[in-house]
């Protein structure tokens, strides 16, 4: 924080401090080592997480009747009010932490939840790179889940072929669904936020429809729950007795792949160029329409893979609510990860941990799991509004910083 009081001395520092995707913007003048830049890039997310937990703590205090009674007698026994407040928050957060990272099975649950969040988070983040807001990860996940579930309960072949086939089916489903939005955007200019929201609804109804057909339901059943995946179609659980499966390694591999594409490949360069300035990209000879369509389709493919890991992993069946709100949580993950693939992984593990830990917290302290949604909302609020964090912690704004813009809104296009 002290360093930043001297603006202009070190331009590279300013970029790192603004949290612009670390390691991505190379600055020739900078003498700061990469690892220091990396640490500085963590400042805003770290402060965001801290602030969100702090406000969450206040919410816990305000809704705990015992604590409120202690405050009502504040003038009789001020220490008691403070200590009861501290205890309530400490109990809740320590249960949250233990449930998230405190044991092998806690890690198992955390990583299990982090798997689809990572993949769907990549789907949102990858689109962000082209200034596209993929709010349709949910629908793309549903399509992926439908495709891979169909393969997973239909073809009775060896798992060595079936699992890759089912995963590929998931990618294809999401790819097609994202591709619709991509092609519409590229050819007609239809804004992807609107089209993907519509496609989310359509996907949900499509899923509801399939869960009424004989193809998906076990014979004689009218419950909207699909046939079970074949045993060999399920993702391998590598720790006996724990639910975490090899999906997490698939997710990590996808992170590495997306990082490689974005940083080392021509396609990634073009995606980012289109994101920075479609006009400039066009005049330098890139096929902007094709890149936009491809970006959304590829993002859909990643989300489809996320859907596949859900049905082939922990759940093992396709139901109407199998995807839930994961595609929307993925937006939060992508924002917190600042669209950097490795950042997305870290954010997904954090959010996976919050969700896993919340179950333990509710069991031990009766504080509803829903508080983690509030905490997640506050985290992305502070990440998306760095000015707010700066205002709270009195960090000076450096001149060279630019406002972070993830997307283009529909009026501007």
């Amino acid at each position: 924080m002290i360093d930043e009081d001297s603006p202009g001395m070190n331009p590279g520092l300013a970029e790192a401090a603004s949290g612009e995707f670390p390691g991505e913007i190379e600055n020739g003048n900078s003498r700061t080592p990469r690892w220091r830049k990396f640490l500085r890039s963590l400042k805003v997310p770290a402060l965001a997480i801290f602030s969100a937990l702090f406000l969450g703590g206040i919410l816990i205090i305000l809704t705990d009747t015992d604590v409120l009674w202690a405050w009502a007698r504040f003038f009789n026994d001020p220490m008691r009010a403070l200590s009861r407040s501290w205890e309530a928050v400490w109990d809740a957060y320590s249960a949250l932490f233990v449930g998230a990272f405190g044991s092998l099975s806690a890690w198992s649950e955390t990583l299990l939840r982090a798997t689809p969040l990572t993949l769907a988070g990549l789907a949102v983040a990858f689109a962000f790179k082209a200034s596209l807001f993929n709010i349709g990860a949910n629908g793309q996940m549903i399509l992926g889940a439908i495709f891979s579930a169909y393969i997973g309960f239909t073809f009775d072949i060896t798992g060595w072929i079936l699992v890759p086939l089912a995963l590929a089916g998931g990618v294809l489903g999401g790819f097609l669904w994202g591709g619709i939005a991509g092609v519409l955007k590229a050819t007609t200019g239809a804004h992807e936020v609107i089209t993907t929201i519509m496609l989310n609804f359509i996907a949900a109804f499509l899923l509801a429809y399939f869960l009424t057909t004989d193809t998906f339901l076990p014979s004689g059943s009218a419950n909207p729950i699909s046939k079970n995946m074949l045993e060999q179609a399920r993702l391998h659980r590598f720790i006996s007795g724990e639910r975490v499966d090899i999906g997490i390694f698939i997710a990590i591999a996808a992170v590495a792949l997306v990082w490689w594409v974005l940083e080392k490949s021509t396609l990634g360069f073009q995606v980012k160029a289109v994101g920075l300035s479609p006009d400039a990209a066009k005049y330098s000879g890139m096929k902007v329409a094709l890149i936009i369509a491809l970006t959304l389709a590829a993002a859909g493919g990643l989300a489809g893979l996320a859907g596949a890991t859900v049905v082939l992993g922990a759940t093992g069946v396709l139901t109407g609510g199998v995807i839930g709100n994961l595609g929307f949580d993925a937006i939060a993950v992508a924002l917190l990860g600042r669209s950097n693939p490795w950042g997305v992984l870290a954010a997904a593990i954090l959010f996976g941990g919050l969700n896993a830990g919340a179950v333990n917290m509710q069991a031990e302290t009766q504080i509803p799991v829903d508080i983690v949604i509030v905490i997640q909302a506050l985290i992305i609020l502070f990440v998306a509004a760095p000015d707010l964090v700066r205002a709270i912690y009195r960090i000076k704004k450096v001149d060279t910083e630019e406002a972070q813009s993830f997307t283009s809104s529909w009026g501007s296009s």
């Binding site: 609107i194 519509m198 989310n200 509801a208 509803p368 997640q376 509004a385 997307t407 809104s409 009026g411």
Partner: protein
């Protein structure tokens, strides 16, 4: 600012005129193509519903719940006649485009739906009045939510947080009504709840210049989290605080006694009547008043508005907060107007449907009402047909309005153009 054109080379000033002619020819071509679509629709109706109905079978529509008022139509002949009229209109349109194409399009959609109903419910009776009543009830929160979107976006602030504002208002309205025992306090608090979140949205997007779509996402998250948390923490422990009750229906003395129309339109709760008043009123204010001109100018060209002395920030704040109030009405309708209590995530995506209705209604409150009625109609049709049983899966009926919106956004059948500065933060000098 006024004489920018004077500095341009002459040929550049000429350019728009040529462009306009080209545009007109394209419009004419497009209009004729629409005619072909109508012909196709008409033929499809004749083929599917006309010849799809057995000769001599009749359809009965009940027009009243209170009396035996009903009409009976011969199924096949009615569908054939409707199909023929649409084909005829299509032929006229493809030769010499009709004026007021939108009205004819709406008319044709209505006729097509009517033909579908005659076919789907042939050989039985169908409660028309029941379906239209439930259409109106389902459409009201959507129309009010869309009104929220229109108010925000006309001033240049994208609002995908309608969902969150509605949910927050549904909770606060229900909670306040149950805690105080007064539905009216719940009504007011619900509106205030929507406005509070809207104030947050305005603060983030106007003052802090946070990407407006992200700000909306944050608000949706926050509303879902805080209402779910408080519902689980407070309402489950004190169930009395979740027994708000609903506004009773008020039958308007004379109008409510009109058969059919009166039962549908003039026997509703306060929210529906509020919507009757607000939608035309805001339309009038937006397009005919000085205030509306200012809002729209801020949404189209904030720089110019700023230059002539309009306070861009203040105008945007006020519009967004008013929009939040409308979303508050939409949300508290769900808890106080129909369910009578709060349930976790009770908006269930209606805020996003309202967003679609706003776009489909071309950022115009009355247009949004039409779109909301379409969505409401699809929902209530689906629930009615699920009972009767048709060869078309009900999920596809529910899907239809979203597909229509998708096509519409993609520019088929009329381009949806948002306000020019929608979503662009403005730096006030």
């Amino acid at each position: 600012m006024t004489n920018i054109g004077a500095n341009l080379p002459a040929d550049e000033i000429q350019a728009p005129a040529d462009g306009e002619i080209a545009l007109e020819a394209e419009e004419l071509h497009k209009a004729k193509r629409v005619g072909w679509i109508w012909i196709f629709v008409g033929v499809a109706i004749v083929w599917l519903f006309g010849f799809g109905s057995e000769a001599g079978v009749e359809t009965t529509f009940n027009l009243s719940l209170e009396s035996d008022l009903s009409i009976t139509l011969p199924s096949r002949i009615s569908c054939l006649a409707i199909g023929a009229i649409i084909v005829l209109l299509g032929i006229v349109q493809s030769i010499r485009p009709l004026p007021k194409r939108t009205i004819f399009t709406v008319l044709i959609v209505l006729m097509a739906v009517f033909a579908f109903l005659i076919w789907a419910t042939r050989d039985s009776s169908f409660s028309m009045v029941g379906m239209l009543q439930s259409t109106l009830i389902r459409a009201t929160p959507l129309a009010l939510g869309a009104l929220a979107g229109v108010l925000c976006e006309r001033s240049g602030v994208v609002n995908i947080a309608i969902e969150g504002m509605m949910l927050f208002a549904a909770f606060l309205g229900s909670f306040a009504a149950a805690a105080t025992g007064s539905l009216w306090i719940g009504f007011v608090v619900g509106v205030a709840g929507g406005a509070i979140l809207a104030y947050g949205h305005a603060g983030l997007s106007v003052t802090y210049k946070v990407d407006q779509i992200i700000s909306g996402t944050v608000i949706n998250f926050f509303a879902l989290g805080i209402t779910s948390y408080l519902a689980a923490q407070i309402l489950t422990k004190y169930p009395d605080l979740n027994r708000a009750g609903t506004f009773a229906r008020i039958k308007i003395p004379v109008l409510g006694d009109i058969p059919f129309i009166g039962e549908i339109l003039f026997d509703n709760n306060i929210y529906v009547y509020t919507a009757y008043f607000l939608l035309p009123f805001v339309t009038f204010m937006l397009f005919k008043s000085r205030w509306g001109l200012r809002v729209r100018s801020v949404g189209e060209l904030p720089k110019a508005a700023d230059t002539v002395g309009i306070n861009v920030y203040r105008t945007r704040y006020i519009s967004v907060i008013l929009g939040g109030g409308a979303a508050g009405l939409a949300g508290s309708f769900l808890s106080l107007g129909s369910v009578g209590s709060f349930q976790q995530n009770m908006t269930a995506g209606r805020g996003f449907i309202a967003l679609a209705a706003m776009i489909l209604g071309r950022w115009n409150p009355m247009g949004a009402l039409g779109a909301a009625l379409l969505f409401g109609f699809a929902e209530s049709l689906q629930s009615k047909l699920a009972i009767i049983g048709t060869p078309i899966p009900s999920e596809f009926l529910l899907m239809a309005p979203y597909i229509v919106t998708l096509f519409f956004v993609a520019g088929f059948g009329g381009r949806a153009r948002p306000p020019a500065a929608d979503g662009v933060p403005y730096e006030q000098g």
